[in-house]
Amino acid sequence: MSKTVAEKASKFTPELLSPAGSLDKLKVAISYGANAVYLGGLKFGLRSAAENFTEEELTEGVGFAHNKGAKVYVVLNGFLHDKDLEELPSFVQFLDSLEVDAVIVSDLGVIKTVLENSSIPVHLSTQASCLNVESAKLWKTMGVERIVVGRETSIAEAGLIKKEANIEVEMFVHGSMCMAYSGNCVISNFTQGRDSNRGGCAHSCRFEYSIDFDHLESEEKKKAYFMSSTDLNGIKVLPEYIEHEIDSIKVEGRMKSHLYAGTISKTYSEALNHYEQNGDFLSNQLLDWEKELNKITHRTYAPANLVEKAGEETIFNERETATDNDYVLVGRVVDTFKEEFIVIEVRNAFNLGETIELLPFNGPAIEIKLDKIHNLLNHEISRSKPSSLVKLPFVPGAALNNILRRKVLQ
C-alpha cells in the first residue's frame, strides 16, 4: 500500500553538515542552509594549510551558528603525539565554554582527553576507518556518540551499523575522496617529512605515476594517475540515505571556495527541505540539483562505495587541473545599500555586457545582465579586476554574503 504524503513527510530527514574553512565560509554555508558546520582550530586537525579559526573567530562562528539554529562541530582529528596532547586540555575546555555541539576525533588519546576535560559530545572521525558493527560497538564503549563511517562503507552498511550498534552515524555525501583507507596513508610522512595524519597531507595520490609491471617485458611503462579518486556525489542516492536513516550527511571541502560552500549547502538543503515537506523526491528535481552541483569545481563525479563497491570508474585518471566545473566564482556580496546597490568583492574578473548569476539564500539563481558596473569612486568601469570592489544595481533578494558566479566560456 502506498503511503500518503503526510505519512511520508513525517519521515526522518538527515542533518546537512557542511565544511567551514573560515569564518566567512561558515556564514556562507549556514546562510545557504547547512544545519551544521564542521571547522578546525589552529591546531589538532588535518588541514594545516587551511585558514582555520582563531579562538576569536571560533567564538564568533559558534555565536553566529547558534543564533541561526545551526550546530558547530570542531575537528580534533589528528593522530596526535604526546607533546601535541599536552596542549589539548586547555583548548578543549575553551571549546566547552563556547558550547560547541561536538568534536570530531579519530585518536583514542584525544577522545579520553576530551571526555576528561569537557562535556562535549565526541564524534568519531572517518580517519579512524570505522567500517563495521563490531568496530562501532567498541568505539561506543570508548565514549563516542556518533560514528563518521569510513568512506568504504555503503549506505546500507552504515544503516546497519546504526541499527546494530545503536549509535548515530554520519556519512559523506559529497566531495573529494581519499583513495586509501583514511588514516592508513603515510606517503607524505615518509616522502615529504610531513605527517599526513596531523595536517600535512601533500596529496601524493594525485600525482601521475609511471607504472612498471614486473610481469611485462615491454620497456613501456603505463602512465596513470592511478591513486587519484573521483569526487563523491550522492545527490541521486539521497533517498537511500533517508531510507537507512543516516543521521547526518556530510560534505567534504574545508579548503574549497565560497562558491563551493554556498552551492553545496544550498543544493543539498533544498533537496532535504523538499523531502521534509513532500516525503519524496521527483526524478526531474534530482536532475536539477545535480546540474547545480556541476556548477562547482569538481573532478569527475562518481558514487564511490555508496551503493556498490567502488570500481574502475572511481579512478580519476587525469591531471589535477582538468576539472569539470562549468562556473567560476565571481565574488561575494560584502555590502548592500538601501536597495540601491550591492557591493561585490571580486574574485574573478567580469565585463560589462556579460551575464552573471547571484545565488540568493532561497530560490533559484538570479541572472544579472551587466549594463553598468561602478567602482567605489562611482566611476563607470567596463571590466572588474580580481581583489577589487564594484557596485552593481540592487537585485531584489540579494543579501550580505550572497555569492555570484559566471558561466565559464568553453
Binding site: 579520553k112 558493527v133 617529512g193
Partner: protein, 389 residues
C-alpha cells in the same frame, strides 16, 4: 629479546625452529593483507609448529566493511584450533577478539596511536587477553623507551622490513592492464599478487613497490626499514620482540638475523651486504610536524580583542576599504595594520565613508567602510585599534 617473523611454508618454519624462535606469524589469504596460505596449508604449518612447540600468531590485519566482516570472522573461527594468538588492527576485529575469541591478543597499534594515553586505553580495553602491543614505527626511540618503561605489557617493534605507505581496498593496478592480460583478473583471486613499481616526476623517490591482491592495492617505501644494529639498544629499552619481515624477499635468512641480533658489529656487516636500500625511518627523531608552520601565513590571522577587520581593497591615493569584523572604527581613531608580509604600520583615521561615499562617524561589525589611503598597506592586511597588538 625475542624475534618473530612471518612464515609461509614448513621449510621456513623449520628454519625458525633451528634459530630458536618460539613464535611465528602465519597469514591466511582471507584475513591477512599479504596472506597466501589457504586453510589446509595453514593447518599443515600449524600442525608442524605444534610438534616443534612453536606458538602460532594469526595475522588478522585486513580492514573490513560490515559485508566482509562475517566472512573473515568465519575463517577465524574455522582456524581457531590452529593458532594460539591473534594479531588485530581493525577496531571491529579487536572487539571480536576480546568478546568472542578465547585467544591471546597481539594488538597492532601501528596505524597512529602516537600517544601514551591512546596506547594505555587500548591496553585497558583488551585486558587480560593482551599478549603484546605492536607499536608504530613512527615513534622515535626516546618515546619507544618511555612507553616500554611505562607499559605493563610486552612491546613489539619492526626491526627489518618494508614500510607500508598506502592501503586501499580498490584494485588500482589491474585496471591498467589490457583486458586479455591474465594477471588482470588473477590479482583479484585470493592469494594471488600483481606486482609493479611506480615513480612520479613530482617525487624524487623512484621505484615504489606496488602490490595488488584480493584485499586491494598497497604501496611501500622504496627503502626497507633496517634497525638490526639497534637491536641491543631496543633490548635495553625493554622492547620484548623485534619483528623481521622477509615476506617480500627472495631469501629467508632468519638464522643469520638471529645470529646478528646478538652483535651490533655483525648487524652492520649484514647491512652492508643487504641487497636493498635501507633507512632508519623515524627511529632517531620524528620531525614530521615542523613544516606545518610554513603551510600558512600566520600574519593574516586575527589576534586579539582590539581586532577590527581586514583590508579588502586599496585604491592608491584615494581610500582603503575595510570590512569590519569585530568592534568598531571611528574618525580620529589610531589604527595599526599588519600586512601579509608581516610589516606593521599605524595611521590615523581622517575620514570614514560608507560604500555610497557618504561621510560617517563610526562603522561597526559587518559594515564595509572606506578610510584614508595609507602607503604600504596591502589587501588582506589585518586592522587593529590603536597599537596594542
Amino acid at each position: 629479546m625475542n624475534l618473530i617473523t612471518y612464515v609461509n611454508s614448513i621449510d621456513q618454519l623449520e628454519k625458525c625452529n633451528e634459530s630458536g624462535l618460539k613464535q611465528v606469524i602465519l597469514e591466511h589469504k582471507v584475513v591477512s593483507r599479504f596472506g597466501k596460505l589457504n586453510t589446509s596449508e595453514f593447518i599443515a604449518i600449524s600442525t608442524r609448529a605444534r610438534e616443534l612447540d612453536i606458538s602460532i600468531a594469526l595475522e588478522w590485519d585486513v580492514l573490513m566493511t560490515e559485508s566482509e566482516f562475517s566472512l573473515k570472522s568465519d575463517v577465524i573461527i574455522e582456524l581457531k584450533d590452529y593458532f594460539q594468538s591473534v594479531r588485530v588492527q581493525d577496531a571491529g576485529a579487536i572487539n571480536f577478539a576480546v568478546t568472542k575469541l578465547d585467544k591471546k591478543i597481539q594488538l597492532i597499534l601501528e596505524s597512529a596511536n602516537h600517544n601514551l594515553v591512546a596506547v594505555e586505553n587500548w591496553v585497558s580495553f583488551v585486558g587480560e587477553k593482551l599478549e603484546r602491543i605492536v607499536l608504530s614505527i613512527e615513534l622515535e626511540k626516546s618515546v619507544l623507551k618511555e612507553y616500554c618503561e611505562k607499559l605493563d605489557h610486552p612491546v613489539e617493534f619492526l626491526g627489518l622490513g618494508r614500510i607500508l605507505l598506502f592501503y586501499t581496498p580498490r584494485n588500482l593496478l589491474s585496471t591498467l592492464l589490457p583486458q586479455d592480460d591474465e594477471k588482470r583478473t588473477k590479482s583479484m583471486t585470493s592469494g594471488k599478487f600483481l606486482e609493479a613499481t611506480g615513480e612520479s616526476e613530482e617525487s624524487p623517490h623512484k621505484g615504489f613497490p606496488l602490490i595488488e591482491n584480493s584485499h586491494g592495492t598497497f604501496m611501500f617505501h622504496i627503502k626497507r626499514l633496517f634497525l638490526l644494529e639497534h637491536i641491543s639498544e631496543m633490548n635495553d629499552f625493554g622492547v620484548d620482540t623485534v619483528r623481521i619481515d622477509m615476506r617480500f624477499d627472495n631469501v629467508f635468512e632468519i638464522d643469520k638475523i638471529k645470529e646478528l641480533s646478538t652483535s651490533t658489529e655483525i648487524a652492520k656487516v649484514y647491512k652492508t651486504n643487504y641487497p636493498f636500500d635501507v633507512i632508519k625511518g623515524y627511529f632517531n627523531i620524528n620531525k614530521t610536524d615542523v613544516l606545518f608552520k610554513k603551510l600558512k601565513n600566520t600574519r593574516i590571522q586575527r589576534k586579539d580583542s582590539s581586532y577590527i577587520g581586514e583590508v579588502i581593497e586599496i585604491v592608491k591615493g584615494e581610500y582603503m576599504a575595510i570590512v569590519i569584523k569585530k568592534n568598531s572604527i571611528s574618525v580620529n581613531d589610531e589604527v595599526t595594520f599588519i600586512t601579509p608580509e608581516g610589516k606593521e604600520m599605524s595611521c590615523k583615521v581622517f575620514f570614514l565613508k560608507n560604500s555610497n561615499s557618504e561621510d560617517i562617524e563610526t562603522a561597526s561589525k559587518d559594515q564595509l567602510c572606506l578610510i584614508n589611503y595609507f602607503g604600504g598597506v596591502w589587501p588582506k592586511s589585518q586592522v587593529y585599534l590603536n597599537t596594542s597588538i
